[in-house]
């Protein structure tokens, strides 16, 4: 570590802990607390990366998480930012975007071709002919760009958590610490967040050697850390501002989603480079970068330096260099010495020559800085006829700052360019947003502290609900700390505006010439500010250049919106834990133990089908999913046949179950459902069809009447919550005296279906099941296995059957009892798939499968459920009255020829396959399945009129493109007169 300095007063490194790591196989060592870049620099490795496009040698620029030309790869991690990522023992690094090695990059020749690669080159050159584009794209992606992504990545998730506070202070520098303290003293619950591992901000690097700052620093830090109202989150960055002060704070262990009542932005300023030829050479860096290297990492940034200044801060940096033992050859000031203060005087006392009204015309060196060429500067351009060359290996740029105002913009702040400060400053801030410190133009330490206190006072007053007249400009400095044109043109170019994307000054001029002279257009055409740093050191100069080109002011030129995230956020942090609610019925454990293959139905898991244990044999567990299509089909057909021939049982606990009670219960149901429900007799049920205002079917179920003022309503699984919501909304809208109880979770339900269902059930219940006492569509309350239940005679699957609604905690016992009692009859549990086949045979629709977001009841052949004449009102009635005569399509039944199995005689159509008539789309298949009862494939299709009314064959286009003939036929396909729904086995036999 030959460039390591003597211990610095506030250094972050721990010299007792040495860490060894490697870059491209070469071993380096650093200390705990070092960043990758600082450890490499300490070890003499100046070259840290290659640039995006031209593969130019690059090194440190900011040391502030903006150094996107010093990116590394290690294992799965890519685009590791060397300037801020801590080194770790055993870390093995490679450089990103290098063909070969850093020092011998075989793609560095591309820089020589830059003359032939003008701005927008790729847009222009590679789009014709179109077929070559993939070739060019692959080539460009290989040559230009960032790190490689390992496709063999391992999934990681970092937990997220919610946080809450009164005031979130972003930035732990002087003004941020002061703001946090003032607010905390006033009783506010404060969170102070800073992206660095330690709070202190520029106090700890820019003012580290400033005697007057020492007392302030230690007092602020101590009070902040000890204050009971302040929680400090160092090592976390606020990655964006979202509505209602929702600010995700990204830390090493994941994201804290902070919800604040107010935010104080004390985010400071980002130092901006000067634009001149070869301003990207290793050895050319921002003054604050050198100060960070010295103060945080005790790394000597160079041996002989030149400092380019347009403000006092540059002189402070020059003094710091001298303290660190760097020989300062000269200070080059873009302006005059008499504009400068104390620090300039101190520097002159030390005998450092100051070259006034001059700029760096060019930096010289091949892979690192060897000398700078200084030339007189009139504020706009250099006089290249009067240059002098100063040998040096370090050039600091201290020409100005851009506010870290990204989140101010996101919050909707009004910003304006201040000519006195030569900086964009907040003008008007939205409610709950406050700004202080250098971000707000307060530059001296006194100003920053006072401004922090002011912002805190205003923020606290606002929290208390007081009217606040903001005095935002009160503590702003009256001197500029930025130069309005630190930009030097050069005939040979290579004066970079955007280091991320290798954009030179001429590129912006050319973009403007081609008509992209608006800030948003220029950004996109030239890609200025679109690299990984998102323009943190390119946007301000870009705006200045465009303003100059258009002879407009900075405000007129505008700026582009800085969107979240502020720094790249790992996907693992964004992902958080996996929270995906899964809802199980009380019978779930039985299903799993009995070979059920589960499927998702909304949040619920339902058995799709069962592989009975006797069938499983040597087959793997059905739940593992390794079931062949034919095996699946076989058991589904067995389930269907069991229901038709004897007995089946299905868990329908996922149905929505709603209790509707009160004097107006009937009135409510009359409004919500198409058919009249207030006339249902006690102990009976009625089919319930729900449409929306436009007459589109949204749900179906049944309504049963328990007593005069009490109804029981079921809804489909996926619409259960929405049905309850609709009922409660209508209750409120109409001011009805109705009470609703959503019993979906507290009641379980099953359907016992098949010709022997009555016989089996009669052994276990006290309800009289005889056809006369308990007819089809009847509803009875009673007990089953000793538990209170409701039995409903339903016909969805088309056999004699009973829906049993029972307390959730009794359901498993009842289920098992029925299974046990049903064994002599060959009872078979059946899943959703068998139920789909069974109801299809009956021609019953499934809302959402056979209907879509436009289907009305007439199209679904359910005009019988729409009593337009007899009911004065129901939701959607006026629409249906209009639609009745204007149907454009209709649901019809169809079948495939006997013997068509989809194997040898053509491809079996699937749900959603289109029907084609004269080459045009004429409909689609909504349901299709092999019916074991009919011995052929049947289905439903939504077909355009008048095609639906013609009895001629239809053509379905299958995946292969072939057309398969469908024969229209009447529904129900099975038991058209419905005798089986009322019949016992003995009676039909």
């Amino acid at each position: 570590m030959k460039y390591r300095l003597e211990p610095q007063s506030l250094e972050w490194i721990n010299r007792s802990e040495t860490l060894n790591f490697s870059l491209e196989g070469q071993t380096f060592s650093g200390f705990k607390g070092d960043s990758i870049s600082s450890a490499l620099l300490a070890g003499g490795q100046k070259l840290l990366g290659r640039s995006f496009k031209y593969h130019r040698p690059r090194s440190v620029l900011s040391m502030a998480n903006h150094d996107v030309n010093a990116l590394f790869q290690s294992g799965e991690a890519t685009n590791i930012r060397g300037d801020v990522t801590p080194v770790d023992d055993g870390l093995a690094l490679r450089a990103c975007n290098v063909n070969g090695t850093l020092s011998n990059d075989r793609d560095s020749y591309i820089g020589l071709l830059s003359r032939f690669l003008p701005v927008g080159f790729y847009y222009k050159a590679f789009h014709k002919p179109k077929k070559f584009f993939p070739f060019w794209e692959r080539l460009i992606r290989e040559k230009a760009g960032l790190g490689e992504i390992s496709t063999d990545w391992s999934a990681t998730r970092q937990p997220k958590k919610y946080g809450f506070c009164d005031l979130l202070v972003i930035g732990g520098g002087a003004s941020g610490m002061q703001a946090a303290l003032s607010a905390a003293d006033a009783g506010a619950d404060v969170v102070l967040v800073d992206e660095n591992p330690h709070i202190g901000g520029s106090l700890d690097y820019q003012l580290v050697n400033e005697p007057s700052a020492a007392a302030v620093r230690s007092q602020l830090k101590q009070r902040v850390v000890e204050h009971t109202n302040i929680r400090v989150l160092s090592g976390h960055y606020a990655c964006g501002w979202y509505t209602d002060h929702y600010v995700p704070l990204v830390g090493p262990k994941g994201i804290t989603k902070m919800r604040a009542a107010g935010v104080i932005m004390a985010t400071g300023v980002m130092e901006q480079p000067s634009v001149f030829r070869n301003n990207d050479l290793p050895g050319v860096m921002l003054a604050s970068a050198a100060q960070r290297l010295i103060a945080r990492y005790a790394v000597k940034p160079g041996q002989r330096a030149v400092v380019l200044c347009a403000n006092d801060e540059g002189y402070r940096a020059a003094l710091d260099l001298i303290e660190a033992g760097v020989d300062v050859a000269a200070v080059v000031d873009l302006e005059w010495l008499d504009k400068r203060g104390d620090w300039a005087a101190q520097l002159q006392e030390k005998g450092v020559p100051v070259i006034e009204q001059s700029a760096i015309y060019e930096a010289k060196g091949k892979t690192s800085l060897k000398a700078v060429v200084v030339a007189p500067f009139d504020g706009r351009s250099c006089d290249s006829g009067q240059t002098r060359t100063i040998p040096c290996d370090l050039l600091l740029m201290s020409v100005g700052w851009a506010p870290a105002a990204q989140m101010l913009y996101q919050a909707g702040s009004k910003m304006a360019y201040d000519k006195k400060a030569q900086q964009i400053l907040p003008q008007q801030l939205p409610k709950g947003i406050h700004a202080c410190g250098r971000l707000n133009g307060a530059f001296t330490l006194e100003q920053r502290l006072a401004d922090g206190e002011r912002a805190a006072k205003e923020a606290v007053a606002e929290l208390r609900g007081e009217t606040v007249e903001s005095d935002i400009g009160r503590f702003r400095d009256d001197r500029a700390h930025s130069h309005d044109w630190p930009i030097i043109s050069h005939p040979k170019g290579k004066n970079f505006v955007d280091y991320d994307e290798d954009l030179q000054l001429k590129d912006l001029f050319n973009a403007a010439k081609e008509g992209f002279d608006n800030i948003e257009l220029m950004k996109r055409f030239s890609t200025n500010g679109m690299g990984p740093s998102q323009g943190k050191h390119a946007n301000m100069n870009g705006i200045r250049v465009l303003a100059e080109i258009n002879h407009k002011s900075i405000d007129e030129t505008g700026s582009t919106t800085a969107r979240p995230m502020f720094h790249p956020v790992p996907v693992s942090a964004l992902a958080g834990r996996r929270f995906r609610p899964e809802r199980l019925t009380p019978m779930h454990s039985w299903h799993e133990a009995n070979g059920a293959k589960m499927m998702e139905a909304g949040r619920w898991l339902r058995p799709e089908y069962y592989l009975p244990r006797t069938d499983v044999g040597t087959l793997p567990n059905a739940a593992s999913g390794a079931v062949s299509a034919s095996e699946r089909q076989r058991v589904i057909l067995q389930e269907v046949q069991a229901v038709r021939s004897s007995l089946g049982i299905i868990d329908v606990s996922t149905l929505g179950k709603i209790e509707v009670m009160g004097p107006d219960a009937g009135k409510l149901l009359d409004v919500v459902y198409t058919m009249k429900m207030s006339t249902i007799k006690q102990g009976m049920t009625r089919y319930a069809l729900m449409v929306d205002d436009s007459g589109v079917i949204v749900d179906d179920g049944i309504v049963g009447r328990i007593t005069e003022d009490r109804f029981y309503v079921t809804a489909t699984t996926s619409h259960a919550d929405a049905a309850f919501r609709t009922l409660s909304m209508k209750t409120q809208e109409l001011g009805l005296d109705v009470r609703l109880v959503n019993r979906t979770g507290s009641l379980a339900a099953l359907n016992l279906a098949g010709p022997v269902s009555r016989k089996l059930l009669s052994q276990l219940t006290n309800v009289n099941l005889s056809e006369d006492a308990f007819p089809y569509l009847g509803l009875r309350e009673g007990t089953l296995c000793g538990y209170p239940v409701r039995l409903i005679r339903v016909g969805f699957v088309g056999e004699l059957g009973y829906e049993i609604h029972m307390p959730a905690d009794a359901a498993l016992e009842i289920w098992k009892t029925l299974i046990e009692a049903g064994k002599p009859y060959g009872i078979r549990p059946f899943g959703v798939e068998a139920q789909r086949v069974l109801r299809l045979e009956k021609g019953h629709i499934i809302v959402g499968q056979d209907t879509d977001g436009l289907t009305n009841p007439f199209e679904a052949n359910m005009g019988w459920a729409v009593p337009l004449a007899s009911k004065p009102w129901f939701t959607g009635k006026p629409s249906l009255a209009l639609l009745k005569e204007r149907c454009q399509r209709k649901l019809i039944g169809f079948r495939l020829p006997q013997g068509f199995t989809g194997e040898s005689n053509g491809e079996l159509p699937k749900e959603c396959h289109l029907l084609i008539e004269n080459g045009e789309i004429a409909g689609r298949i909504t349901s299709i399945a092999y019916s074991p009862t009919l011995g052929r494939v049947i289905g439903l299709a939504m077909v355009d009129l008048p095609l639906a009314d013609q009895a001629k064959p239809l053509k379905a286009r299958v995946d292969s493109g072939a057309l398969i003939t469908l024969e229209p036929c009447a529904t129900p396909f099975y038991d058209a007169d419905g005798t089986r729904q009322t019949a016992d086995l003995t009676e039909v036999a």
């Binding site: 436009s694 919501r725 409120q732």
Partner: protein
């Protein structure tokens, strides 16, 4: 994500709510054009909108006047104010 500051249940994230849009009263005796306008047309003009929110964990409905431009909830509306009758 946003918060809805409700006088009954306090400030809650809108992820706990279902948004049911503008409070609209069906023109039960209007002509076809009026009805079609009610069913299909919505004004997207920024301004104060009276809207329904459903808070799932409590199962409660809230009617609020909200400025859709500034996102400010201006008033919580009593359900009695927006009641209507339907033909019976």
């Amino acid at each position: 994500m946003k918060l809805l500051d409700c006088p009954v249940i306090g400030k809650r994230p809108i992820s706990e709510f279902d948004y049911l849009g503008e409070v609209r009263i069906p023109p039960v005796n209007g002509d076809d054009a009026t009805w079609a306008d009610y069913v299909f047309n919505r004004s997207g003009e920024p301004g104060v909108l009276r809207e329904r929110w459903y808070h799932r964990p409590t199962g409660r409905w809230f009617i609020v006047d909200r400025n859709t431009l500034t996102d400010e909830v201006i008033r919580f509306v009593d359900a009695n104010e927006v009641r209507y009758e339907v033909p019976a």
